[in-house]
Symmetry: C2
Subunit: 274 residues, 2 copies
C-alpha cells in the first residue's frame, strides 16, 4: 500500500484535547459521522498535560485547517476561558466540551453532554415534558444533563450527590432556568419518579455498585445511565430485571455526536434542540 485514502493535504482537522486520552471514543465515532456526511475530515486525539493546556490549545486554535476542538477530562471548565463566544448551554453549565471557529474567525464554545442525553430520550420517542426526574450526580456530566433536562419542561427534578453543596447549587440553577420546575435536593427515591438518571461515576469500569440501594425499580420508571464503560451497568441490570425501559450511555454519546457535528458544520451556530 503506497497511500492511505483517509487523510491527505486537503483533510480538515478536528482534535479532542484531554489527559489521559487513550480511553476517548470521539476519534473513531466523530470521524465516522464527519465522513458519513461527506467531509474530508478527521478527529485526532491530543494528549495535553494540564500545565501545557493554555499554551498548546492556543497554538492549536491558530492552525488554519483545524476547524473544531472537543474537550474532555480535565479541561471542560478551563476551555470556557478560551472561547470568544459561549453558547447557551455553556453559559448555563459553566463548561465547554466543543469549540468551532466561526466565519469571523472567532471561537464559539458550547457543551453537548446534556443535549446528548435529551437526544437519546427523543430517539426512543421519550420526552421529559411534565415528567418527574430523579438525577443522581451533580458533577460535570450531571450539571450538563440537569441544565438540558430543565429546558424540556419537566414537572420536577430531584437531585442527589454525595457532595450536598454541589447538589443544592444545581437545584438553585434549575430554579433560575425555569422556576415552574419543582427542584429539590434529596436521597435517591424511586417513588413518584418517572425517569431515573445516573450521572454519577458509581458503577463505572470495575465498580460493581449501583447508585441506588433498592434491588427493584417500579417497572414504569425509565432508567438511564450516563456510564459508557461497562455498557450494562449494575443499575441497568436491576432496571432490566425489574422490567423497566433502559437507556444506555452509548445512546447519549451517539445523540451528542450528531449534535457536535451539527455544531461543527454550522461553524459554531446554535445546536437545534427543537
Amino acid at each position: 500500500m503506497d497511500e492511505v485514502k483517509y487523510v491527505s493535504g486537503e483533510t480538515r482537522i478536528f482534535a479532542i484535547v484531554g489527559h489521559p486520552i487513550e480511553q476517548v471514543r470521539s476519534p473513531e465515532m466523530i470521524t465516522a459521522e464527519l465522513v458519513r456526511r461527506g467531509h474530508n475530515a478527521i478527529l485526532v486525539p491530543t494528549d495535553v498535560l494540564p500545565e501545557d493546556f493554555e499554551r498548546t490549545v492556543a497554538g492549536l486554535m491558530r492552525v488554519q485547517n483545524l476547524d473544531g476542538l472537543i474537550f474532555t477530562i480535565p479541561f471542560k471548565q478551563a476551555a470556557c476561558a478560551l472561547a470568544g463566544i459561549l453558547g447557551d448551554q455553556a453559559l448555563k453549565v459553566g463548561a465547554v466540551n466543543a469549540m468551532a471557529r466561526n466565519r469571523d474567525g472567532d471561537w464559539v464554545g458550547d457543551i453537548f453532554d446534556g443535549i446528548g442525553c435529551v437526544e437519546a430520550f427523543r430517539n426512543r420517542s421519550l420526552t421529559f415534558e411534565d415528567r418527574r426526574v430523579m438525577l443522581i450526580g451533580a458533577g460535570g456530566a450531571g450539571r450538563a444533563i440537569a441544565v438540558a433536562v430543565a429546558q424540556q419542561r419537566p414537572r420536577a427534578i430531584k437531585i442527589f450527590d454525595i457532595d450536598a453543596k454541589r447538589a443544592t447549587d444545581l437545584v438553585e440553577k434549575i430554579a433560575d432556568i425555569d422556576p415552574r420546575i419543582d427542584a429539590s435536593f434529596g436521597k435517591p427515591i424511586l417513588e413518584n419518579v418517572d425517569i431515573l438518571l445516573n450521572a454519577s461515576p458509581v458503577g463505572m469500569l470495575s465498580d460493581p455498585r449501583a447508585p441506588i440501594e433498592a434491588q427493584q425499580i417500579p417497572s414504569d420508571v425509565v432508567v438511564f445511565d450516563a456510564i459508557v464503560k461497562p455498557e450494562l451497568t449494575t443499575l441497568l441490570t436491576i432496571a432490566q430485571q425489574s422490567g423497566c425501559r433502559t437507556i444506555f450511555g452509548r445512546e447519549m454519546m451517539r445523540g451528542q455526536i450528531k449534535k457536535i457535528v451539527d455544531f461543527f458544520e454550522s461553524r459554531g451556530g446554535k445546536a437545534d434542540l427543537a
Copy 2:
C-alpha cells in the same frame, strides 16, 4: 458506519507543518508506511501561518501523543531553531524537514530531502561513487541533495543556479564536506557528465520549460528530476526520447519516506545511509 477503524484514542500522532498545506503528499504516503509497519499512527496536515509558526509548533511539541513532525515550505530553515539536537544532514544543510522526540524527551531534527534522492538511485542499483554530477538548482532541495550526494564520493559536482551566489556558496560547502570532490560552479553542461540532477523549480506544475537548453541528452547520462508535479517533466521527456535512464521525483519521495519513518521509529536515531 458507527466508527472508523483508522483512528482511536490510542493513535500516535505525527504532523506535517507548512503553508500552504493542501498540496502535500506526506499525509497519505507516510501514514501508509507507518500503518504498513504495524503502527496505530497517522500523519495529519497542519496549515500554520508564518507569524504563528513558533508559538503553534511549540504547542504541538508539547502534545504527549505526538511523536514526530515534518516541515515543508516555508519552514525548513526556521525548524532548525526548534530542534534541541541536530542530525548530521541538518547540521550540514542548515535546514530540518523531520523532527522526532527521543527517549529523553528532546527533539531531534534532521533533513531527508537529499537522502531520498540518494536512496532513489540506490533502489535502481545506481551509485554516485566516482561519477560526474551536474546539479541544477541550489535552493533548499538542491542544498540537501548536494550535501547527500557529496557524501557518496562522487568524482565531480558542478552546480548551476540563476542565483550565482547561492550556487558558489554550495560549491564551497561541498569542498568542506569532501575536498577530493571536483566542485565547481557553471552553466548546465551535458558533456563529461554522468548524472544530471534537476532540483530547480523549472518545469513544475504548468511550467513547460526544461532547465537545460539542449533538445538531446547523451544516452549514457542518468537524468533525475526532483519535481513531483507533473511526474513526467519536459526534462524527463527529453531524456526518455534521448534514450537516457530517468529517475522521477516520486522515487525520491518514496526513498525519503522510508528514511523518515526509520527516523521516527528510532525516535530520532541516525538514519542509516550505509
